[in-house]
């Protein structure tokens, strides 16, 4: 690999990040991507104790909906015990405060009509671990229906269950390079009309690539296929990739990237120590 890496931010919002990375090998980028997706811990509800549920919905259905609600975890990852320790504590039904954040939910159907119970109705025991969105509907209740439950959230990793993943999308793609050979082009304009992303345009009676839209190319190669003279070729740049991340809101983008890199570095260090122990390295 060539250092330093060249990184360009293509898109940055509180819930998404798109990076253009040059001079990085695919396996390194993929390790980072997978560390973000599967190894970075976040908080999510893992155990639900139903005291009363006379609603029309099964306990499992409600528990599943609760689990999928992303919880703010930026502060929690530093204070709560590791996912592995807490998974074990959960198995033994020991809901200690250093592993689990508790939520209470009590609701009753109204005399008239129906009521929707939202994620904001969850009463947290830890003021820093709260739902990211406060208007996710959990259940609906009508007259005579009651629900009372205690939910316990713990740290976990995306590889155990996707509810713990801090990202919903973590993908990398190649950087497209569209080469047009004007000696072979017969100006039939089939490629311009066939491109589903509208990347090709006409300028001075010639087919040209719209540079602003180039990165949207999905490598479908329809333009290559419709070209009768093989004048257009869709290639990709070596060792350059676009990393696209979309966050659930459980962790902010900065924390996610830092924690993921730390985990990756720790894993490599462990690997090195192990090799030294075995005498493979000296």
């Amino acid at each position: 690999m060539i250092y330093p890496l060249k990184i360009q931010i293509l898109e940055k919002t509180p819930f998404s990040l798109k990076l253009y990375i040059e001079d990085i090998s695919l396996h390194v980028l993929n390790s980072i991507r997978r560390a973000i997706l599967a190894e970075t811990p976040t908080m999510a509800i893992d155990y639900v104790i139903f005291v009363e549920n006379s609603s029309a919905f099964y306990d499992e259905y409600v528990a599943h909906r609760l689990a999928l609600i992303p919880l703010k975890s930026d502060d929690a990852i530093l204070r709560y015990k590791s996912p592995e320790e807490c998974a074990e504590a959960g198995e033994r039904r020991l809901f200690s405060a250093d592993c689990f954040a508790k939520f209470d939910l009590t609701a009753e159907g109204p005399e008239e009509g129906e009521v929707t119970v939202y994620s904001r109705d969850l009463v947290p025991s830890d003021m820093y671990v709260t739902p990211v969105y406060d208007n996710i509907p959990i259940i609906k209740l009508i007259r005579g229906q009651r629900i009372k439950l205690e939910a316990f959230a713990r740290l976990g990793r995306g590889k155990e269950h996707a509810k713990w993943s801090p990202v919903s999308i973590a993908a990398h793609k190649y950087v497209p390079v569209i080469v047009i050979s004007y000696d072979d082009c017969n100006n039939c304009l089939k490629c311009v009309n066939s491109c589903p992303r509208g990347i090709l345009t006409i300028s001075n009676n010639k087919v040209v690539v719209n540079e602003d839209k180039l990165l949207e190319c999905s490598f479908c190669k329809i333009c290559e296929n419709v070209c009768s003279t093989s004048a257009i070729k869709v290639l990709h740049r070596e060792n350059s990739y676009i990393l696209n991340l979309e966050f659930t809101g459980a962790l902010n983008p900065k924390t996610t990237l830092i924690i993921a890199s730390e985990i990756l570095i720790k894993k490599l260090e462990e690997f090195e120590t192990k090799l030294k122990e075995l005498g493979v390295l000296d």
Partner: protein, 66 residues
């Protein structure tokens, strides 16, 4: 049943957008425009909205058997 909290395919959180979507579509806006403005980009998430039927409305009226 109720509108899912997350997209079945990609796992993006969409549960909080349903009521805004429903309200605007019932007012007569075009679903495609509403979804664009709510930031629902991928077709996996969009079909969650377009194909959802609130069965829960009716299920709610039945007593629970357990």
């Amino acid at each position: 049943m109720l509108f899912p909290v997350r997209c079945f395919t990609c796992g993006a959180v969409i549960g909080h957008l349903w009521e805004k979507y429903l309200e605007r579509v019932q007012r007569g806006e075009h679903p495609a425009k509403v979804l664009d403005e709510l930031g629902v980009k991928r077709y996996c998430c969009r079909r969650m909205f377009l194909s959802h039927i609130e069965v829960a409305r009716e299920v709610l009226q039945f007593p629970k058997i357990s």
